[in-house]
């Protein structure tokens, strides 16, 4: 369960679920997140789940660290089902125009473009968390053969829709943003929808599959504009 609870400043509770990043730990985080949300605990303003941490922000005018800590410690979360998840299929175009770091990736991992793409699209990914920028999914784990470090100097602007890999993860830049992941493709799919009833296509706990599209197909259903 939760290994340690600390305060993050005076208005947040920092729950640590352990050092390792894997699906099992992350599912615990997601279960806690869902449970706390459903309970509508007085004073809780926001909850941020990540790989192995859960940060709970509260309103200092209504409650305090001690009260929220007691509440969270006494939560009875015994059923660790893998929540209600769905499979989301995401089109990706790997054309040279979008694959900004492909050459670097080819050199680092010692594989050709076709093989790198095949490695990426041949499996389903688990969504650990969404955030940094609105709707950005952190997906894993990618095949060991195509793992590499992030760029030494991050880009000031990564184009919207870019699909990147780093270490055991891949992601989609839902908005133009600074960033240091290795960009190997671009998706025309709008992930952050702005529909208040369903803000994002991909939620933590979901499964994501990529499929390859040509540049022609890309321009046909470009939703990013």
């Amino acid at each position: 369960m939760i290994k340690n609870i600390y305060n993050l400043g005076d208005a947040a509770l920092y729950c640590d679920f352990g050092d390792t990043v894997n699906k099992e730990t992350n599912l615990k985080v997601i279960n806690y997140f869902n449970d706390i949300r459903e309970k509508n605990i007085i004073g809780i303003k926001n909850i941020a789940p990540s790989y192995n941490k859960l940060i709970i922000y509260f309103d200092l005018e209504l409650t305090n660290y001690k009260k929220i800590k007691d509440t969270v410690e006494n939560l009875d979360i015994s059923t660790f089902e893998s929540a209600k998840t769905k499979i989301v299929k995401i089109p990706v175009c790997f054309d040279d125009e979008f694959a900004l770091d492909l050459e670097r990736v080819e050199k680092e991992v010692g594989l050709g473009k076709k093989e790198i793409v095949n490695q990426l699209i041949s499996q389903k990914y688990f969504c650990y968390m969404t955030g940094f920028i609105a709707g950005m999914p952190f997906l894993g784990d990618i095949k060991e053969k195509i793992r590499l470090d992030r760029l030494e100097t991050p880009r000031v602007k990564v184009p919207k829709g870019s699909v990147g890999i780093t270490e055991q993860f891949c992601n989609i830049y839902t908005f133009e943003s600074p960033g240091g992941w290795n960009i190997i493709g671009n998706s025309p799919k709008k992930i952050f929808t702005k529909d208040p009833t369903k803000l994002t296509l991909i939620d933590p706990g979901d499964e994501v599959e990529f499929f390859e599209i040509s540049k022609k197909e890309y321009s046909k259903f470009n939703e990013q504009k």
Partner: protein, 315 residues
């Protein structure tokens, strides 16, 4: 009946609609956003007798130049702001903050600049005709979310005001004060940093850099040395969290911050001092002081009490 409206003749540098912020969306990557200086936001709406959570226009450094059309409206500006009202007959009234003004058809409101501070607020009696997104009027420009399609106010656009019948006459004697220290609580990675660097962090001056906006405030000063590791597993961030990347220059997360980050957290600014920190313009010197959780909680109680006392002095 013609609607009351403002025509934007100059948008200002970073003018957006804001309220108290948007809750419960960290998990999709949306930060709280909202008015950076909460106290001045609350005072603005109180002076103009709006609801506490009505939207205001927040501006930074240089504010907008607005031409009013309609019968009449009441406005107030809070912060430390240099502004004037240019009447239809070209006569000028020098504006005072914390005092309401009535605008008549074709009067212009020229919000020239914020003085020795960053943010100022314009509240209009009755509020603006805009829609909430996920229960909030706040704008998060980076995610294109909020009123005005999630964008900053642009030149030439028209801002529609809600109709009001009565003029407001209120004022307040108030001066924004500076504090000697920005008080912080130790962060979750406090022990990653060298003893000397902790000493520097709590005794030396840090200067607010030009690379500062609603997302974050970069500081320069003595380099903070990390002894353990310069990257952590990406995790949630919050308003006031101070991260130290590998280059050793601290970054304070402000209201529009990225919701996930992977740099060690040396400290977190206490809630009571957030407004004052965020109002420090580039070039200003800052000193940090560590307090414990109980002290921070008490200081926040004092902060809320002070805000209430200020509101009670409105005449």
């Amino acid at each position: 009946m013609s609607k009351n409206s403002f025509k934007v003749l100059r948008p200002g540098i970073n003018t957006t609609f804001q309220d108290l912020g948007r809750n419960n969306l960290y998990h999709v990557g949306l930060p709280f956003s909202g008015a950076i200086d909460k106290r001045n936001f609350i005072i603005a709406n109180s002076l103009i007798t709006n609801k506490e959570d009505d939207a205001v226009l927040e501006f930074a450094y240089q504010g907008p130049l607005l031409e009013f059309s309609g019968s009449q409206t009441s406005i107030v500006i809070t912060g430390n702001v240099n502004f004037k009202i240019i009447k239809k007959d070209a006569s000028e009234i020098k504006g005072e903050c914390y005092r309401t003004y009535n605008l008549n058809n074709k009067d212009c409101l020229d919000i020239i600049s914020t003085e020795k501070s960053v943010y100022g607020y314009l509240s209009v009696k009755g509020g603006f005709q805009i829609n909430k997104f996920c229960n909030s009027y706040s704008t998060t420009v980076r995610a294109e979310v909020g009123p005005n399609d999630g964008k900053k106010i642009e030149i030439g656009q028209t801002i529609i005001l809600n109709a009001v019948d009565s003029a407001i006459e209120k004022s307040l004697e108030y001066l924004n004060s500076k504090i000697e220290f920005i008080r912080v609580i130790k962060g979750t990675n406090f022990d990653y940093f060298s003893e000397d660097s902790i000493k520097d962090f709590t005794s030396k001056d840090f200067i607010v850099s030009k690379l500062t906006d609603r997302m974050g405030m970069r500081l320069s000063g003595p380099k903070i040395k990390n002894l353990k590791k310069t990257n952590i597993k990406s995790e949630g961030l919050g308003k006031g969290v101070i991260q130290v990347p590998a280059d050793g220059d601290p970054i304070v997360m402000l209201s529009d911050h990225g919701t996930i980050g992977g740099y060690p957290k040396i400290a977190v600014v206490i809630s009571a001092d957030y407004d004052k920190l965020a109002q420090c313009p580039p070039g200003e010197k800052i000193k940090f002081k560590i307090v414990n959780l109980t002290e921070a909680e008490n200081l926040y109680k004092i902060y809320t009490m002070e805000t209430k006392n200020i509101i009670n002095k409105i005449r």
